[in-house]
Amino acid sequence: MTRTTRKLLLPGTLIGLILAVIVLAPVLPLHDVRAMDVPNRFAGPSAAHWLGQDEFGRDVLARLIWGGRASLFIAVGSALSAAVLGTLLGLLGGYFRGVVEALTVRASEVILCLPPLLLALLVVTILGAGTGPLMVALTLLYTPNYARVVYAATLQVRALDFVTAQMAMGAHPLAILWRTILPNVMPPLLVQMSLVVASAMMIESGLSFLGLGVVPPTPSWGLMIRAARGAMEVSPLLLLWPSLALAGTILIFNLLCDRLQAVLDPRNVTAGGALWLRKGPRRAALPAVPAATDGPLLAITDMAISVNTSERSLELVRRADVSVHSGETVALVGESGSGKTLTSLALMGLLPDQLGISRGQALFRGRDGRVTDLAQLDEDGFRRFRGAEISMVFQDAAAALNPVHRIGDQLAEALRDTGDAQEISRRVVDLLRHVGIPDPERRQRAYPHELSGGQRQRAMIALAVANAPRLLIADEPTTALDPTIQAQILHLFQKLKSDTPDMGLIFVTHDLAVVAEIADRVVVMYAGEVVESGPVAQVFARPRHPYTAALIASVPEGAADRLVAIPGTVPPPNAMPPGCRFAPRCAHALPACSAAPPGAERPDPARITRCIRWKEVT
């Protein structure tokens, strides 16, 4: 049984039970709902009358079940007829557009100009109370909802290639609607359906309560509540049963709707929430880190990043060894899925909730000279470093900037040791000017969507360097940009480097041309492992790992294109080959390569490679 069906099991079973009882009502051994027994009115529960007797001495249980029949019949009936009508209107409107749309979808929306209860009230007074008028009223009420849902879905599906193809092939529009579009709009329809049933029951009971709904002596839950209300003090149980039945049934339908939504749209299922927002127990004092008087700004040794699921732990990144000296630019290169972004996020403590550093160290030398192991920090620990010591430029500036705040405000928020408003404003303008945004006084008042892609990335960079961090991590900062803009942004990084010579820079990219231009050293990652590192010039001149060599070979002359020339794909994290992870794609692989993970070899004091055959193949 899958997780989804398990989720639907509870509400499904309950609804099945209710429906079964209601459908079977005529054959169940129930009392006659109309049989009065006035001398025994308000009698409490007894063997003959399990739930007691009402103000006419009628059996409450029988009336409850038959009442549910009336309520559900109206609710489900009107939900179905509204679904048919609304789907028809929505399909026609969405498929044909134009006049048809105006006559179907838009016309039905006139109904939405009136508050729902008011509309139901008007229809019922006009047609007279009773089951029929109620169903007409509720059908009218919910038709536009369906029409809207189906219309939107139809528009979406209509634009899909296979539908366009069918249209081009001259298939009959009705056939297309029936065969392709209808099945596609079913999921939203189902959700809408359970929603409407719940809502229709609510309105039906309200109208019956006002005496405008179901006509007695047909029992209905709304009517039972209305009658019980008068005798609330004499017999509170009489009010309780129909209220429970009504609220319970609506609750189950709402539950079904929620579950359906969750199943059909798994995006919404977030089990964990945001762990970083929860204050965890404060960690014990960090273990003392042997402090050398001098050393790299950042030294990552043998770091692993794992998925922490309860079943097993899976290492997405392992044996990561990277070091960055102050003033140095290190490029982190690899295909997508190689773990380069995860590694950089780990340094900020920004890994997704399910991931964590499971092994190794990431020693960072702070401004005050103290060394901290980033791998041991919790959320609060990281916060001291973020922005002030380590900061990050994200790949997609459009998404990384908050759309509802002005650029200047977002920048001001990042500033530490701020002064008064004037001072802040001056610093913001300075920063924007520093990253090359023209007219910064005006631009600081702009919203992110009002800036061009390049300017947004500049603003993002301004955000990152606002507090002159010791280590800047740039995660594919140019990937989303036009080539001309890419060059400008790259140029900006170079300028920033020369302006702040002490800052270390980790530049994450898959673009070797960029690496050659900006980096001092390069770290090549493949499938979550560092396979080679060394000074850029040396590595490019003479790669010591077949993967690096393949990467370099795949770059077309003078262009920075996607790395597509290596045959095969990066293996998924749960199916990593034993031994060398590149072996399955490697032209030089031997059986020994797959036997055990290769160790780090140093062809040169400044270089590392993880290939057992480096001497032969490069």
Partner: protein, 319 residues
């Protein structure tokens, strides 16, 4: 933006006209003679001569198109006519009653939002936890319990048994502010319950969604602490859809407080409408429907405009 608002207003006015014409015609089709009803109060037999005279006075003997044009003409000049029952100007009566309904809706919305936004945010932050499960259950129950059940039980407990609050009714604020607010508590709370559930759920869903957004990660990367991130980057952004839903819900409440007004004897617009329909007081019914549908349509427009103001990405002109 102004052009957009003007355009939408025109469409809205057209819709209101459509609705009102429909209601006017339907009203005359339904059984029930206002003159007869007025004169047979207390189940007493009315004199046919008196009924005929009253019908003439009400203008009910004119052809329907004539009555319609007369009425529409009046509406266009801002005159909603006078009540069949006591000749009171309809506009004046609506002006008296509308604020009361809006007050209940406003108080309920305030209450629901003040409780719903923090709780929804909390549930989102603790998604999957016990508190989240409890809130989800509570909000489901709140959504499923009809307002007249809540109201009846609340009166039984708080007014009759505990005698903490008056059972229902209305006293104007200027007359007795304390009593006015006491009377407001129960109806506003009853309305607030389902609204609270809607706001809580919507807040939870959008906060969860916003928490996944890149800009929240950016805010963390800036070194901001939890509170400002939550306030400025999570809740602030999540509020946009929550506000939309709340606005739309408020719209449906304008005509939907009928049950609450009935149960708590709160003399608002919805109850007024029901009594007008009961008495077949055509000018009153049409007047109230005009006001309610206008409010409803323009509230929806206002929601769109406020959305645009809150979310600078939305450009009304383009849509």
């Amino acid at each position: 933006m102004l052009r957009y608002i003007a355009y939408r207003s025109l469409v809205a006015l057209f819709l209101v006209w459509l609705v009102v014409s429909l209601v006017f015609l339907l009203l005359h089709l339904i059984p029930g003679d206002p003159a007869e009803l007025l004169l047979s109060q207390g189940s007493l037999a009315a004199d046919p001569a008196a009924v005929a005279a009253l019908r003439e006075r009400m203008g009910l003997n004119d052809p329907l198109w004539r009555q319609y044009l007369d009425h529409l003409g009046g509406v266009l000049t801002g005159d909603l006519g006078t009540s069949f029952r006591d000749g009171a100007p309809v506009a004046e009566q609506i002006a008296l009653r509308l604020p009361r309904t809006l007050e209940v809706i406003g108080a309920a919305t305030l209450l629901a939002a003040l409780l719903g936004v923090p709780l929804g945010t909390y549930a989102a932050v603790r998604a999957g936890g016990k508190a989240d499960g409890l809130l989800s259950l509570l909000s489901s129950i709140a959504l499923s319990t009809p307002v007249f059940v809540v109201g009846s039980v609340a009166i039984l407990i708080f007014a009759q048994k505990l005698q903490w609050l008056p059972a229902g009714g209305f006293v104007s604020f200027s007359e007795d502010p304390v009593q006015h607010l006491k009377l407001l508590i129960l109806p506003a709370s009853a309305v607030a319950i389902s609204l609270w559930a809607v706001i809580t759920r919507m807040t939870r869903a959008t906060v969860i969604e916003v928490l996944e957004r890149d800009y929240v990660r950016t805010a963390r990367a800036k070194g901001l602490s939890r509170a400002p991130i939550l306030r400025r980057h999570v809740v602030r952004n999540a509020m946009i859809p929550v506000l939309t839903i709340t606005g739309l819900e408020m719209g449906t409440l304008i005509g939907g407080t009928v049950l609450v007004e009935f149960v708590f004897n709160w003399p608002g617009l919805s109850g007024y409408l029901v009594s007008a329909v009961d008495a077949r007081d055509y000018p009153e019914v049409v007047g109230i429907v005009i006001v309610i549908s206008m409010l409803f349509v323009f509230l929806n427009l206002a929601v769109d405009v406020v959305n645009a103001l809150l979310d600078p990405r939305i450009s009304l002109v383009k849509s």
